[in-house]
Amino acid sequence: MYEMIAFYLFSALTIGLFMVTVMSKNVLYAMTSLASAMVLISGFFFILGADFLGVVQLIVYVGAIMALYSFAMMFFDATRDIKEKNTNNALVFLLGGLSALVLVLIFAAPIHSDAIHALYPIHEGAGNAQDVGIVLFTKYLVPFEVAAVMLLVAMIAGIILAGKKMDHSLTKDLDADDEILVVKDRK
């Protein structure tokens, strides 16, 4: 009963907040609604018994990724509304229809679901964190290490890309950075 109430509440709120994220013109509104929808998605994980995944979702997504976005938004002009030129409707309808067709085909695909059996079953007695730890550090050790190396590479790439000329202001260009001024005048 409580599971049903929680499921419908979380799904309605998540879908509404993601609609705000996709449709809003303001970057600040989009980012706040995205962060709160991610908190609610961790609620889905807690309902499903994936406790460790929910905690990781809270720490990584809400903690790290949204903090990164909000720091990046300080470089861009966040308070101004975004003006977006709409593309032609025929292309949008064509692409939307094609993706809807693909989605229907995926859902209508026959699955022989009786033949699916658990490769790494969830143990009843042990907690979720213990289970995840045992499987992650035995069966998925190599992908785990590769993911760690990939995160290191991404960190170095982010520092190198964003770290050049950090002493220049991006939005106000007081030092008469000629290239940016020329581009702005042309618009």
Partner: protein
Amino acid sequence: MIGLSHYLIVSAIIFSIGLIGVLRRRNLLMLFFATEVMLNAVNIAFAAISHYYNDLTGQMFAFFVIAIAASEVAVGLGILIVLYKKHGSLDLDNLANMRG
């Protein structure tokens, strides 16, 4: 009672919202938000299948999806900052300067 199909339908709806965002957004930062929405939808589907088939593999893949999303954001925001320094805006139409 809530079954697997409920979760999969919610996941499909959220994925479609992200797809709409990817198709109609012109600002690169908003495009990144839409990709985050799609990745989260896939994570919900993984966790639900992991729960209803009593298998931990779905949760493992969700962890790797989260790791990939984190590194994507780190590299992507660096590229966005470089683009903003060069062009002064994040609009996709201004970046199409090769006219390919």
